[in-house]
Amino acid sequence: MNVHVLGPFRAALVAVEGHWTWYRRNWRATVISNFLQPVLFLLAMGVGFGSQVQAGEATGGHPYVVFLAPALLVITAVQNAVFESTWAVFSAFKWQRSYQGVVSTPITPAQVLYGQLLWIALRLAAGTAVFLGIAVALGAITNPSAVLAVPFAVLAGMAFTAPVVAFTATREKPDSFNVIFRFLVMPMTLFTGGFFPMSQLPDWLHPLAWVTPVWHGIELARGVTFGTLRLLPAAGHVAYLSALVVLGIVLGRRYFHRRLAV
């Protein structure tokens, strides 16, 4: 039998294949949270609430729903990432113990991490791409350049995912996941310029928003959609988000190893 040790990239791809096998059987359960929920947001806030908002300086001269849509793309990516980087990872360590099964094969703990992150990135890409399509169909996005907002949204989502996956690898109990959602994801969604401009917030809150991946993601997504993105700030946002991803991978490698090679 032609058994052999795979390189890191092939190993991550094979791990993704395992996730995909699961997804093919269970995707129906993910449709509502991944695809439907963001659309409901777009309808309620953008179309419904937005009809009461006048286009003006705050919305960059765009109708509210058009102003909101690129930001929702980023928010969708981050919200989709929450479950995948907490409960799903925790379960693979603790309940299903499927990671323990995988590291009995030539796959290493670090490769398990790469596979998990790559899989989440693909899920975020699919989620945001579907949302983009629906937003276009609803007339909330008209600029073709909005397609470029998808990779930025995925990058912002991964800047959240990678450190959270590393954190999850250190957890023996799932208690903190609801805290992450309530006190990290919710404020990150509401107060980072997505629904209203940051200028409406007190100055002392701005630095708090600046450290979140969501704010950087929204700046990038909105900028590229409306053609207002300038190179230097764009490079800064991308660098910051990439740094978070790298930080998450470095910590994640350490914690996955600590958890799976004991």
């Binding site: 039998m1 190993a11 395992g18 269970n26 499927s98 323990q100 796959i107 090679a261």
Partner: protein
């Protein structure tokens, strides 16, 4: 099972070599310096009570748990250096099943096979063979979650064979199974042994060890207390026969029979006489006027060895 892979490097006849092997978890010493050699084609057992260090040892041999100290070579390689290469040729059945319970039986085997670098068509074929072997063919496309404990265990064993391993590690393979499921599993493991697969088994079931193991070590408190074949161990640490005299609680008369056997053990309701000839000891006891409620002559077993070496006190 298909024959051993042609493209793997030839292994020396020693598949596992450990010398002074230790494992610490913080200040807790799970394994305190053990020497073990397992040769090709052997069925080797680790016996011991809970917490004896069996599973820690198995995990080090499986190259998922780095050793704290000592020497360890598996398939001639150092797990610290060549972990993935060694694991490519091991089969591992962990104490706790870690199947993907939301996948089907077939998918579990196929997905797992891919981690060993096998092609899609190879894992498809292999899954069919293994389901046949594990008597799961009629459940091929059923989800794993609702399967019985015995079926899940069989699937875990089938999955561990997906890479046609040189060495199969089984950590308490039949714990928690009913007698039918255990016997079916033993039968499958026996077949593997016949086909030349080297087995390392941990268990605290003595009948399992006697059934399956050519050679075993008894572990206690992180150390090896004894080593040998089941019959050697019985000869060395027990006697050919054991006479059990049962008394109403508190009325044993051990003093009257003490010199009738090599060793006498007094339990709350029984006196055990370890002797080569149980019937003779029983007649002698009767002649002295000892009147037990009942008596039983049985052959010495590994259980006697085990209890002698590891004591009757609970360790947890």
């Amino acid at each position: 099972m298909s024959g051993p892979a042609a493209n793997v490097t030839v292994v020396t006849s020693t598949l596992v070599h450990a010398k002074g092997l230790t494992k610490h978890f913080g200040s807790f010493e799970a394994v305190r310096g053990i020497d073990v050699e397992v040769s090709k084609g052997e069925a080797f057992g680790f016996l011991g009570p809970n917490g004896a260090g069996k599973s820690s040892t198995m995990r080090m041999v499986a190259c998922v748990s780095p050793r704290t100290g000592g020497e360890l070579r598996v398939l001639g390689m150092d797990p610290d250096v060549d972990g993935p290469k060694i694991r490519a040729r091991l089969g591992v059945v962990p104490q706790q099943d870690n199947l993907d319970t939301e996948l089907t039986v077939r998918q579990n085997l196929q997905v797992y096979g891919r981690y060993f670098g096998l092609s899609r068509s190879a894992v498809r074929e292999r899954a069919v063979e293994l389901m046949e072997f594990a008597q799961l063919t009629d459940r091929a496309d059923a989800e794993v979650e609702p399967l019985s404990g015995g079926m899940k265990r069989r699937l875990t064993i089938a999955r561990s064979l997906v890479n046609d391993p040189d060495l199969l590690l089984l950590d308490e393979p039949t714990t928690g199974l009913d007698p039918q499921a255990r016997h079916l599993l033993w039968d499958r493991l026996f077949r593997l042994k016949q086909s030349g697969v080297t087995l390392i088994i941990t268990t605290h079931y003595m009948d399992e060890a006697e059934q399956l193991c050519d050679r075993l070590v008894v572990m206690d408190g992180g150390r090896i207390a004894a080593e040998g074949s089941p019959s050697e161990l019985i000869r060395r640490y027990s006697t050919r026969e054991v006479l059990e005299l049962r008394f109403p609680p508190g009325e044993q008369s051990a003093a009257e029979v003490r010199d009738l056997a090599e060793r006498v053990e007094v339990l709350p309701d029984r006196v055990l006489l370890y002797t080569a000839d149980g019937e003779a000891a029983l007649s002698a006891a009767h002649a002295r006027g000892v009147r037990p409620v009942s008596s039983l002559v049985r052959r010495g077993t590994l259980e006697d060895v085990f209890l002698r070496l590891t004591g009757r006190t609970l360790v947890d």
